[in-house]
Symmetry: C2
Subunit: 447 residues, 2 copies
């Protein structure tokens, strides 16, 4: 089936706003991209405002959406946050997880996200007893993404210890597979289940150096290398994590991951907030992606990571909404720049074009979809259209449209989303209907 | 005329969410506030979600709205910003300023803002020649606020020098009155023009210690004291300002303002970012309000001011959207907490209740409306209703509604606004109609 869309303005490579772009879609791919078409042809859907490639949410914990607002109560210490997060983790089963994740992924779709990287460690039943299908929770996430109409990179996460040398405890037992070999066996089964599926990538994740002993890391890394699939890992989000790692291993988390073969162009270091110069060079020289999650890093008081120096050193930057304090990749994008301004006292670290690249092409590539996030023939047919006539974006011109969107737009300005050739959001409404209602019901069910 | 509104949830003093609140309005004031009314009476307008008192935008430069997006181009250095800002300032006349400010204030109304503090220094015509009515520009701002349906505190700003000991230059000549006596004469005339008007306060402002020589400051302060009206001043936004002030006066800006009688409970220090311990004590002990403008302070790379220590020392905190990089007081409110997390490494500096107080009662008081920003009989009848069923806020309960709104809501979630007893926003639409269109037209006119 051939569909045509005419974009009032579109964001075309190598990073510029072009007026009057006719996009033809065949199946889940772009067939043709024709610039400078002054009027929409009769059979084309007209997309007002600025049309971007699909946005990639490179780091998600879907169930954290149930914590929004809740974890800010009573001045919201870190311990409030963790206690509430574990309570939600304890309450979920495959059915309620499907219900919740479907609503969360639909919220993402409404924000222009066409692919999610789900950092998935909620594997097993209560007390760590596997479900009949040991990947029941993972299947629920895939089903949720499909119902919401977006692609998923299911980053099956190895999570073995509660801290360096500390066994899993309480709800954490649901996260654990015992050792990396058993993790790999389960992850292989998950991968087999989606062999040939164009909308699902099964990747790997090391939760962190706190949760995976050093000698177990290579097994997880091998899975990524063997299947040429993404490998994500939480790195140096907190100073205490670095200190504990250095004490046990005489190496920083980045050094340890380097030694154990876990870094490289298929890998993503999530957060990478507190880095030494050596860490920074190791990440950059290996071409490891770095996923910034600034709204979560603000929320959890993590600090501001050295995004620009990492980028200069060779690490593509990607963006994630992580804990879903908000789901707004425009806010994540501008926060990379704005938080860097706050700590440096200088403006102008990133162009809007660079930040859009992080939100699109770099993000998709880090999730195992290097053929997405760019308006080129043959690429995945994702189109995200942002209003330029709302109170937030009004006044933008073709010359300033990218800046207006990155620095002032809200998900409320996303009026149309096409993902993999299918239109999933029209006039700001998702095909599933009342997504707010779906979220409320799903959260109520587990509260 | 008596109007009734039934609030599904309302934010009542001393700071709690109450279910089923019946609010009766007479003229521009609340007549009765009755909690625990389980069902809406037949003649009452039903307000879904959480209803707050009106929000006060305590620091605005209306014309900066025309710069949104524009100043982020080419990586957006500080000099890009200033050059573009002056170009807009040069282009405005009373007609185009009315057109622009009306649209900007309507954008504020849509975000739940019922009173704006306009820090107004664009007084005169090209080359500094006064208009036929020397307050033509101020009148345009009042007319704009009235057309948008919100109150205005017109902070008539004294702006005499381009820097310490440096004459005004270029477009700055439009800002200057020559000396503070002549400024006061003009400000008195402006005040007389609105004597008895319930929806307008005429206050004073010292642009900054850079723009008003020390010996001229008392004249401006006297205006505030004589009329018991607000006195606002930009303070210590940049380190360079402090250094230059110390070099010339052997005093910091706060010390200088203290010596010249410009601080106290009617005063507001805007920004107050780079303070010594002495500055902090002087602001707190004098009861001076401190207006935080975090989205602008992020944008201009100012840094993070010591909001919590100032509050503990005695300064009420207020919020402003300042340069209108965005107009979103929820974002300003949460940014006070989140930016403090980033620089401190700790969560939990402010409760949602404290941040809502900054956005409402404290803000209105700092603008000369101490009888606004609170749901009590006799207070100004402002009601701002925020959806709790959008994708951003869904999942909130009465126990977490305030946190959900402060930490996750967007202006797109404001569905109804009553200001001074008049409903100006219904179902998310402003009485003026297509505000995005008004903004675009106004900005185009001066570009």
């Amino acid at each position: 089936m051939r569909l045509s869309f005419w974009c009032e303005l579109a964001w075309l490579p190598p990073g510029e706003v072009v007026q009057g772009v006719l996009v033809t879609v065949e199946g889940d791919r772009f067939a043709e991209i024709v610039p400078a078409v002054p009027e929409p042809p009769r059979d084309a859907v007209r997309l007002a405002g600025l049309t971007l490639p699909g946005l990639a949410n490179a780091h998600s914990h879907a169930f954290h959406r149930a914590l929004r607002g809740v974890t800010q109560a009573e001045k919201g210490s870190f311990w409030t946050w963790r206690e509430r997060m574990y309570a939600v983790a304890a309450a979920l089963d495959p059915d309620s997880y499907l219900t919740l994740a479907r609503a969360v992924y639909a919220e993402m779709a409404l924000a222009g996200i066409t692919c999610v990287g789900e950092f998935h460690y909620l594997h097993h039943g209560p007390d760590g007893v596997p479900y009949g299908d040991q990947n029941a929770m993972g299947h629920a996430l895939v089903e949720a993404a499909r119902a919401a109409g977006i692609r998923i990179s299911l980053l099956d996460t190895c999570y073995l210890t509660g801290g360096l040398g500390i066994p899993l405890d309480g709800v954490q037992t649901r996260f654990g597979d015992g050792d990396a070999e058993r993790w790999a066996g389960r992850a292989e089964a998950l991968r087999d289940a989606y062999a040939g599926a164009g909308d699902v990538a099964v990747g790997a994740a090391v939760h962190s150096v706190r949760a995976v002993p050093a000698e177990q890391i290579p097994t997880v890394a091998d899975f990524s290398h063997r299947h040429a699939t993404p490998l994500h890992v939480h790195v140096s989000e907190q100073q205490a994590e670095n200190a504990a790692c250095v004490e046990m291993y005489a190496a920083t988390p980045v050094q340890l991951l380097t030694e154990r073969g876990a870094l490289g162009p298929r890998s993503t270091a999530v957060h990478a907030t507190h880095l030494s110069d050596v860490d920074l060079a190791l990440l950059g020289q290996s071409g490891t992606h770095v996923c910034m999650c600034p709204t979560t890093e603000r929320d959890l008081a993590d600090g501001v990571g050295p995004a620009r120096p990492l980028f200069e050193a060779g690490s593509p930057i990607t963006l994630g909404s992580d804990s879903h304090a908000v789901i707004d990749l425009f806010e994540e994008a501008r926060a990379v720049e704005l938080d860097e301004r706050l700590v440096s006292g200088r403006r102008g670290h990133w162009t809007a074009a660079e930040l859009l690249d992080a939100a699109t092409a770099a993000g998709h590539a880090s999730l195992g979809f290097p053929d997405a996030g760019v308006l080129l023939p043959g690429a995945r047919a994702d189109l995200v259209s942002v209003r330029l006539d709302s109170v937030r974006t009004a006044g933008a011109t073709p010359a300033t449209a990218a800046e207006a969107v990155v620095f002032a737009a809200s998900p409320a300005d996303v009026h149309s989303v096409v993902a993999g050739g299918r239109r999933i959001v029209t006039d700001g409404r998702h095909g599933l209907g009342d997504v707010g209602g779906l979220l409320a019901a799903a959260i109520r069910e587990i509260s």
